[in-house]
Symmetry: C2
Subunit: 253 residues, 2 copies
Amino acid sequence: MVITSRDNPNVKRIAKLTKRSEARSEGVVYLEGTRLCEEALSSGQKAIEVIVAEDKISWAKEFTPDIEPMVLSRNVFTKISQTVNPQGVAIVINEPKLTSDIPSNGKDIYVVLENTQDPGNLGTIIRMADAFGLSAVIVSPTTCDPYNDKVIRATMGSVWHIPIVRKTMDECFEFFARTGTETLAMHLKGDILSAEGLKLPCAYFIGNEGEGLTDETTAKCSRLVKIPMKGKAESLNAAVAASVIGYELSKLL
Amino acid sequence: MVITSRDNPNVKRIAKLTKRSEARSEGVVYLEGTRLCEEALSSGQKAIEVIVAEDKISWAKEFTPDIEPMVLSRNVFTKISQTVNPQGVAIVINEPKLTSDIPSNGKDIYVVLENTQDPGNLGTIIRMADAFGLSAVIVSPTTCDPYNDKVIRATMGSVWHIPIVRKTMDECFEFFARTGTETLAMHLKGDILSAEGLKLPCAYFIGNEGEGLTDETTAKCSRLVKIPMKGKAESLNAAVAASVIGYELSKLL
């Protein structure tokens, strides 16, 4: 049966979930569009609801054969969609729990985000960490929501692949001390970044886009490093800095 | 005199310029907000018009003392502003001409963007190029507008500092052949990226976000390289890839 009214209670319920704050409070993630949905499904995420436009029933049959989809008229799908040209495909999944344990294999690289605010940066860092073989992305409680739509898009699927761990800075330092993990902060007075002279396990800290790392976190790190910059700009985008360090450290893997 | 009507002809004219397409067709750039305006002015760009909210006249006196500002009521400024919480400060500058000559000093690094579409990526690449000391950012005719507001924001001022050159791929290869510039394309079958074994001048090509480099451009490059990725994700964000190569090559400077 095709639902043709925006006032249908099921449509109202889904429309609420398209707002990230509502979805988060219910412990779910709303994903829209073929790429986002298919990436999540192929990574083992289970759809708990499937919503398709009437011309996309075949998509649901192919990708979520075990679930009865909610079928909306094109018009209604477009009304609840958050995108400009909706593809007519959406799923709801349970929000993955942020891992509470930091994984450890003795040769780990961790990127620790103290207070990343830009969803594009967070997503790009998650994607980079997955590409360079980092063990986990560790996010502070104040870092932006990893299941924000913009973050998920920027990860190109990596959000489903690499452990994302939420920890306070104190918890991080306690773990790193216990496991003999070197801790790096970027600082203008630091040593020039180079894989030579560093060893794993190693964690590096990336601060807020505008303010950088807090002095407190910088002071607790075992080592200060700097990315050599031979040009005129004095700083790099946070995701670029995180990526250059991830690339350099991954030479030790 | 404070302009209090949205229908004032001068206000209408400025409101048009807040749309990038209109500003471009008039050969100007509209910049709003203290950071963007001050970055441009301190980099030597000249304001040809200054627009401030009535409570920001002191800003104009400080930063653009030679120009009579157009003073708008807060209400009118907010109406024409493209931002959610307008700071009440805007300038119009002449659009810098994209350089037509590729600068050359014999030890150059160039990043060449074949068809970059995302303004955030383009801005991040311009900022990175300025930080790592590249000689120029070369953009294809299809690459997105460098004076797009989102690009300018992401460059953090570097858009005013590093030469941005618009060239076709054919023009690039002709120049690189003439100057003995090594040309790098990323390819899965390439050599592992390393500054050792490479020499300057050197240009590297970055393709479109979705499709990568065209086969035609890849085939014309003198050398194929790959960024080693020891994790599971198979690709990197275009700005991250450009930054890692820029970082590695800058070791040769």
